[in-house]
Symmetry: D2
Subunit: 402 residues, 4 copies
Amino acid sequence: MVSETVEAQGHLVDSGNFQSILTTIVEHGSEYEILRFDMGRKNAEGSYLTLRLTSDTTARLDDLLAKLSVFGCYVEGTPEVLLRAADMDGAVPEDFYSTTNHRTSVFINGAWVLADHQRMDAVLVAHAGRVACRKLRDVRQGDQVVCGMQGIRVVPDVQQRDKPSFGFMSNEVSSERRVETVVARVADMMRQTKAGGGRIAFVAGPVVVHTGGSQYFCELISMGYVDALLSGNALAVHDIEVALSGTSLGIDLSSGHPVEHGHRNHMRAINVIRRAGGIGAAVTSGVLTTGIMHACHTHKVPYFLAGSIRDDGPLPETMMDLIEAQDAYGKALANVDVVVMLSSMLHSIGVGNMLPSWVKVICVDINPAVVTKLSDRGSMQTVGVVTDVGLFLHQLAERLRP
Amino acid sequence: MVSETVEAQGHLVDSGNFQSILTTIVEHGSEYEILRFDMGRKNAEGSYLTLRLTSDTTARLDDLLAKLSVFGCYVEGTPEVLLRAADMDGAVPEDFYSTTNHRTSVFINGAWVLADHQRMDAVLVAHAGRVACRKLRDVRQGDQVVCGMQGIRVVPDVQQRDKPSFGFMSNEVSSERRVETVVARVADMMRQTKAGGGRIAFVAGPVVVHTGGSQYFCELISMGYVDALLSGNALAVHDIEVALSGTSLGIDLSSGHPVEHGHRNHMRAINVIRRAGGIGAAVTSGVLTTGIMHACHTHKVPYFLAGSIRDDGPLPETMMDLIEAQDAYGKALANVDVVVMLSSMLHSIGVGNMLPSWVKVICVDINPAVVTKLSDRGSMQTVGVVTDVGLFLHQLAERLRP
Amino acid sequence: MVSETVEAQGHLVDSGNFQSILTTIVEHGSEYEILRFDMGRKNAEGSYLTLRLTSDTTARLDDLLAKLSVFGCYVEGTPEVLLRAADMDGAVPEDFYSTTNHRTSVFINGAWVLADHQRMDAVLVAHAGRVACRKLRDVRQGDQVVCGMQGIRVVPDVQQRDKPSFGFMSNEVSSERRVETVVARVADMMRQTKAGGGRIAFVAGPVVVHTGGSQYFCELISMGYVDALLSGNALAVHDIEVALSGTSLGIDLSSGHPVEHGHRNHMRAINVIRRAGGIGAAVTSGVLTTGIMHACHTHKVPYFLAGSIRDDGPLPETMMDLIEAQDAYGKALANVDVVVMLSSMLHSIGVGNMLPSWVKVICVDINPAVVTKLSDRGSMQTVGVVTDVGLFLHQLAERLRP
Amino acid sequence: MVSETVEAQGHLVDSGNFQSILTTIVEHGSEYEILRFDMGRKNAEGSYLTLRLTSDTTARLDDLLAKLSVFGCYVEGTPEVLLRAADMDGAVPEDFYSTTNHRTSVFINGAWVLADHQRMDAVLVAHAGRVACRKLRDVRQGDQVVCGMQGIRVVPDVQQRDKPSFGFMSNEVSSERRVETVVARVADMMRQTKAGGGRIAFVAGPVVVHTGGSQYFCELISMGYVDALLSGNALAVHDIEVALSGTSLGIDLSSGHPVEHGHRNHMRAINVIRRAGGIGAAVTSGVLTTGIMHACHTHKVPYFLAGSIRDDGPLPETMMDLIEAQDAYGKALANVDVVVMLSSMLHSIGVGNMLPSWVKVICVDINPAVVTKLSDRGSMQTVGVVTDVGLFLHQLAERLRP
């Protein structure tokens, strides 16, 4: 039997982490003894916990330490972190530490150092007294990679119960909610974010166009609420198809009538933009005069179109090299405070993977399974809204008008 | 081998009935020969078809005749309909004719007579030169029941291609539609219906309350667009819970915060109404002063609450005897021109069963499977809208304001 | 400012109740001071909590006490419960105590008395030293009704982390699960339940028939795993339609081909049973020889068919009086240990309302929204399975075969 | 007013094309006159139609001709097709002909020539007496591109009513179906396809792994029913995670227990494969010994992993360049007869875009909206099955075992 002592502190009870810690140990088949538990007597006071863990093997104990790490438990004392040099490009030693999206500190050279570029599913690389998250494929031979579980401390975000400015809805995903209440809160948060100099990114799928949300989304752009648009080829093509021919995948948006053989307009839109030399060139030359892509150009909102296997064309601006696209998305998301995801599961999952846990996420989709899937990933950072995206944007634009 | 000659006429090609007739015969394993097919050369002209059918047995041929009947085929000539006396209460001879929801005529006493009270899944009973749909349970011993397939002619409704005032959407059910376009059409249709002296019934579930649609629905009531409300115990209880305590099943509608132990408000609302002697009495005595049920009373809109196995209470007005409830629904639906179904699958299916095919139905639900299920039943009479019901009502009320 | 001291004990941390208690107080806008918190140092030991609560008014404090009650908090000491006589039939004093589905004790005549017939949304009536849950409509003038929050103690069920024999799945509802694993556990539980002399009830909708689950469900009946069947008119009609004509709502189950005009078979099935005098009479007379209803009769499994507004016919056995149906369901559920709900939201919600929290519930539906809705109600008592019901029954029958 | 005469022939009535032609003309606002309509008197005989169309402008008439083309209408006589040279790389003249997925012939040099590589959303390029579909981006300056609507004839596939070997289900997408019936038919079709020397491709998402379908899918591979696997990074990673650690995204597949911090296993699996030099190398070196990817290697089934914006890693075999991935998919699909799509909307849409209309498609997903979306694209070529993918594969493997 091997043992280790771990500590945790902060809002352990009301965050649910205390419960999660104990449950994890028992389900893991290990034992615990509470050496110390000081509970804040009042709401404002934090708690303090020291636990002694016992497992049957060192490997099992390490596994348990990793599991408890996400709830804020760290090995007692301040043992120096374990660094190993990568022995090849694009891969790491087998006992590497795999990151979460929570704030993480590493004890290195006798001090706790906060990791840069926090994101999940990365490794930590130390260099010149600092430590940063890095994707596996970006690791180079000789990089100093954080391994094991010692000297690593994760600080999970805690929903503040008495200041539910963001966590204004329960986690429950349901279509049986009053969306107007949610819209009012989201609008307040967006207004406050911009007032404080913050940045808001939108992830949007073509459903924004199909459901008639384009004009309202353009309004958000013109009012300055969109700092970056992350999307794919399809949104841009459908938007441009509407701008050029008034249909979106064969539906006449103003009448709702299906327009048979509508794919023709779709392909014609792509051809027109390819002939013009790209979206930007088409705006400049006066070929493209309305719609979301036009608004992005006019209002200098950067947009990033990631390719996918289903793309037609593609448009010249679409990045069909996904290494390039992931890097571009990553840079666009640096320093964002809020991300609004509108009906695009693929791009939203991609974005969710890149975000640290303190960025606020609003996820809107009419399919509850999509909202549940996206909300699962970011626990308490995501507010899911099951509703019609076109009508949601209508309400949101109305709320944000001066 | 036995044969029979059938005829059909009207817009056979553009209705799709011509295709359906031929496909049905082949899938049935029978044979056909086209004796005559006169196709209108222009859009305004109807077509005329005479077919000779051949099956291996009389039973098989009768089965085929029944299947073709719904597409407008009737046995050539004018053979008198077959009537048999019911030999017991609440049941009919085994070869009874089972009705569809299409206009049906019966050749009786040498003339075609249009059936009264047309609805599906009924039997036809002849009396004093007239014929009417009757529910199985309402048949009495000695009633003259239409049997077999002779002398029966169904006239299916045909969507008029060049006047798509109602069939403004394709049959396809999708959440990827611009709902504002649909709302505009529905609003136009409702306005025209009322201008022409027509009647509009609403079927509504408690989701109308949960999604914040109540105030907009009350607006529709006060503007005179609701001639009858068909619902259940739950809508009324949730509506009254909001009126009395501001929550709906434990959600504070103005803040969106979940209110734990919210069922208490639910039960309290029921108790208050039971103490008052009913919804009507509670309005009169000033206990109930806002909400949908209050609006119904104030604006003299009749409402019909059908009980269900899941009901709490129930409220005094809820009909827990479903024979009574079905009869009340049926009477409420006599002479309606339009039915709007809002997020209530159970009551909507019940209502759909009672309607003739020429009543226009709008079915709104955020779950595409519900919309598909309801649209399936009434073929081209139903327009399905997959969207958020609260936001739909918001848009609809805005459109209908003078 | 008014204060009250409450206590709670048991597995407070790992049940999550400790967290829920503190969060509830803060969200309620009240204050707390922890007077005592003894935490079990090891897994097997319970905890003990004493809290002092402070609110601004007595009404607010009472509201808070009610909210905390469901997490096991009770007013310190042993104050006698407050009883008030009902002043009318079918309703109670306004400050009545509204029950949850958890085990509840009342301090009466100087002793804690466990309530009988525990269910949610009822009132507690004291009589002759005992106390029992009673539906509002069954209260009679003069009944002694429990009011306020004093002398009432709720003991919430606690999921045992180290014996996850039932709570074998997380609460998360997802279609992305391996159903075979779940089936194996459900089969084990059913076998153990029957081995221990327990009772298993099934709630089933017509989807069991449509998806081809009938033969496997009949197998469960013949193996003795079905102690009661709670359903509606539709299941029985579709089952009988298949037995008599091989179709279910117009789908030929053996070929999968749609059978147009299939409603005819539906109505013919109803007519045949009505002519026979009911399902039981049809089995006895040899008219009905296969299917679920036949198996119930042959194996003496009691069944209860509750009517609904959408019912055709109905069959003679269908209870169209819902007061009668709810009472029959309630009696059928007395002393059941396990309930398996198969694709019937309406009847499942009805049954869920009647069950105490310690009855284990398995809810199977292909629609995740239905499973989520049903699981929400019974917290940790329900295991939700998102899958195809026909294939689920196939797997379950295979697992249970000797 | 301008006019043109068009012809069509074949099973015009029972295919529904006759109805579609007339409806399209009327909705388009143009006029028609039927110059000739010869209807086959019996099932086996085709029909013949000649129509005179009249529109107000030449542009409108051309638009109508394009719309009618997909239903088999072609301009009367044999006018030579119009070819224009592409004036730049990657784009075409604005009046280019946009392809459908139906068999298409072009009248060139005095003869009808069948287009090669038929697919939708492409252009037609003529070269050396032949004509072929080409993606917009693959067009090179100087290529002879088919423009306008003259000399182009589309032959829509017609569902054969009396040989419903494939179209064994109606188009209706529903979860209320007996899946065992469908599985039996799919198994028959797969067996016949292989017996006839045909090829079957599978498109599969990670849900195959999550739902426990892997072992059954491996069985299909070992029995020789999988000629190619088209998927993405995620399926391979989850499959390998299970092979290496027994979990899939943190769910222990054998127990169903969630394994917290499960992403670690996910990242470890990727790292192991990257260290080994790829999936193939990992199989060869004995690192990877079970699972789908292992089975593909062992049985020499080619697989194609297309990258996406959400990918972790990626695995070395994943194509992150989507131009490369689309070309690889395209080549893999040449000469396939059947495609089975399992729970992967993204890759399935991509594949659907590449297929000619005569390849049979089975689309399996538990979400009806996904099945509807995929079925919409390929009209009568797709059979949609709403069910649990893991259980579907279980049934399918059982049916196909010798």
